[in-house]
């Protein structure tokens, strides 16, 4: 309001009236809420108590105790009455207390001498006698945030994220030397890989949403929502990146010839609305691939963060036994991600190794952080959110690659080119086959 002081009275009055018109519906809603809450039974009456619902979000096994994290995901307050292990009642403690209001959670601590590698089902019974159960396929000690465990996760992250991406980057010189048709093949192969990754992320988050989260969270809608928002906002960011790069096309050429990037002024962070209409298509063609590659790196980085969360959580929940074979599978599967990063850049100018490395780190590094967070502070909803952001990011990248290929191919169109079709199909097939290893 302070800023609007200079406005003429007239506009001020109108804005007040506008506010009033905006507020009236809220007053009506408020009155309705008061009416409904203060006249129980007059309007709607039901003698049926709503069914309780709780979800056991996580079960941790530690020294002679089993800890179950439970959340009230039902419509009303509930009281937890009993806990059991394998359907046998055991004494337990519940903290902070046995009465849970809607969407709050508690920890059920059961003293129990459990055996490594055996399945356990943990049951929680509410005061109306309903029993809820979660089965852990193989009990394993919960990872503790120790230096040793953190470095184990870091190592897993390195193998699953950084190394494969870097390995993929090594294809850079190879792709540079390809003829346009073969290059199209590899670009569309990249698009295929990414589409697979995106679908995979959506399916995986759907699986988590169904298995680990209560319907109260509407997690499946959340997946679609987050993916769409991620898609459109990254699309916006990438357009801005390209626009800015186009504007600064002059230093770009300097960079290309003299590598004098250090003497360059700091990039202007404030995005101007003035469009550079003079930017030629050719300049765009030089700049866009790198922007696309960077967007791919960011997208894959987001995806790998989600993947890291899922891996860490799987270790925490005892759902996977970590083995060299599993890690190898992930490594092979993710090598294709590096290929995806280098493919769009291959036909532009030469690119520095450090730049490639940075892109590799952006794409692969988040896996480590994801594994730490997933392994130590497992949260299914965070995993879903990041997998969906990653999916949206990946689809944005696919869109960018597609539109770039469309422009570079001129009037031939995308679907008339057999190498593009084959490459796309082949990319998905590679992912499917390497996915079998995991």
């Amino acid at each position: 309001m302070e800023r609007e002081e200079g406005n003429i009275r007239n506009t001020h009055r109108i804005s007040k009236r506008t506010i009033l018109f905006g507020v009236v519906p809220f007053i009506v809603i408020g009155a309705m809420i008061v009416l409904l809450l203060n006249s129980p039974g007059i309007l709607f009456q039901s003698s049926i108590k709503p069914l309780p619902e709780i979800s056991i979000e996580k079960v941790e096994f530690s020294d002679d105790t089993i800890v179950a994290f439970v959340r009230n995901t039902g419509p009303s307050e509930i009281t937890i009455a009993q806990a059991d292990v394998n359907d046998r009642i055991y004494p337990a403690a519940i903290e902070p207390g046995q009465t849970l209001t809607r969407l709050t959670d508690a920890r059920v601590i059961i003293p129990f001498v459990w055996n490594i590698g055996e399945p356990y089902s943990i049951g929680i019974t509410t005061d109306d006698g309903t029993r809820f159960e979660k089965t852990i396929n193989s009990a394993a000690p919960a990872p503790r945030p120790t230096v040793g465990q953190a470095s184990t996760f870091a190592l897993i992250g390195t193998y699953v994220g950084i190394i494969p991406v870097m390995m993929g980057l090594v294809w850079y010189p190879f792709i540079r030397r390809l003829s346009p048709n073969k290059y199209n093949f590899f670009l569309s192969l990249t698009a295929g890989l990414l589409v697979f990754l995106g679908i995979d992320a959506l399916l995986e988050s759907n699986e988590i949403a169904v298995n680990a989260l209560a319907p109260a969270f509407n997690a499946q809608i959340l997946i679609i929502m987050v993916a769409i928002v991620s898609f459109i906002s990254l699309l916006y960011v990438s357009q801005r990146l390209i626009q800015r790069a186009s504007k600064r096309s002059k230093p770009d050429i300097e960079y290309k010839t003299g590598y004098s990037s250090h003497s360059e002024p700091e990039p202007d962070l404030e995005l101007s609305d003035t469009r550079t209409t003079s930017t030629s298509i050719q300049q765009q063609l030089v700049i866009r691939p790198i922007a696309i590659s960077m967007m791919i790196a960011i997208g894959i980085g987001l995806h790998n963060f989600g993947e890291g969360l899922a891996i860490g959580a799987a270790v925490l929940l005892g759902e996977v036994a970590l083995s060299s074979f599993l890690i190898l599978g992930f490594t092979l599967h993710n090598t294709t991600e590096g290929l995806a990063i280098v493919a769009p850049m291959a036909k532009s100018r030469r690119i520095r190794v450090t730049k490639l490395m940075i892109m590799g780190l952006i794409a692969g590094g988040p896996t480590i952080m994801g594994a730490w967070i997933g392994g130590f502070l497992y949260s299914p909803i965070a995993t879903i959110i990041f997998l969906s952001i990653g999916a949206g990011a990946i689809f944005q990248v696919v869109y960018s690659i597609g539109s770039w290929m469309y422009h570079t191919n001129g009037s031939r169109g995308l679907l008339n080119n057999h190498s593009i079709i084959i490459g796309f199909a082949f990319g998905m097939l590679i992912m499917y086959l390497t996915g079998l290893l995991v």
């Binding site: 059991d84 009642i89 337990a92 508690a106 005061d127 006698g129 360059e264 990039p267 952080m369 502070l377």
Partner: protein
Amino acid sequence: MRYPRVVVLVGVAISIMIFAISTMLYSRSSLSDQNSSKLDTVGGHTPGYPILQTTGDVLDPTSIVINPKTAVVEPMKYLREFNYGRISTSSNGTVIRDFTLIASDQQSKEVSPGVFYNVWTFNGTIPGPTIRAAEGDVIRITLINNGTKFHSIHFHGIHPSEMDGVFEGIAPGGKFTYEFTAEPFGVFPYHCHMQPLEEHITHGLYGVFIIDPKQGRPQADEMVMLMNGYDTDFDTENNFYTVNGIPYYYMHHPIEIEKNRLIRIYLLNMLEFDPLNNFHLHANMFDFYKTGTKLIPDEYTDIVTMNQAERGILEFSYKYPGKYMFHAHKTEFAEKGWTGLFLVKDGTTQSVNENLNVTSIRNITDYSTSDFNRSTNHVPTGGVK
């Protein structure tokens, strides 16, 4: 180095966001210790298991005493309570015993500490009252249906068809008197026989009916034990197993008996869903009289297995003082509530509490141990008075 700089910024922003979201989610699910002044102890019943101190609540039916005000039955009272009816004599000298049973199906009562279930009851309890008569007595049982569904009483034993409680149901608000001569002697179940039978039985409409032989049985400390279960989540599998209505009750309230004194248990299995159930006595053997219809024991054993409605009489005495377990030797049932203790005393009077291993008594304000000691005035009968 243009793009990397932007990207580093984006990267930093993303990681800050990631940490913010995850710590937010974590701190929401991590727990704040609110009232650390109150510390309860959990566990300690099982050797080798850790004992926990908690600031929260304790979930433990093996040590938490159910609130007698909301409990579906007081197992200690039920154990030695035999109902002989209002006695009158007919012109030809036959003893007539009048009983009244009120059926209801609308109450929600506690069947295990903290667990409430819609119970269907005779006279407000599961199991219903133990009805006792002597062979040859005329018994008249008036059923008043206070429920919302048709109910009936079907007695096992010998009686005319119209007294069988199967083809005529008593409508809600209705009333009917079953009348027949008690025969033969033995232990019998009674239960509602309306359809769906499974539903009426599993909700709790049953009890024990004892017919004593004319000459009576030897003097003993007599008790009745009914084995049942509750399927509180309606998945046709029992969530709780009990003897005398409340899981684990006799674990924190052991049944006091005297050393070398003859104990007689009238045992009935009314468990629904599970095909069989059993009774195992620790550190002892018992004479088993199947169905109680003979005066000579069928078996000398420490375990007896029964299907639904099977029953019998157990006779034993303990040679050594101490605590002895009795439970279903179907261990699943034992570990879901069908476990209890005898406390064998040396004859000297000694407070129960000294031997109790109750780690937590909660929600109880007006409960005193005298309540269950008082039941001795029902105890030592050698037959019908």
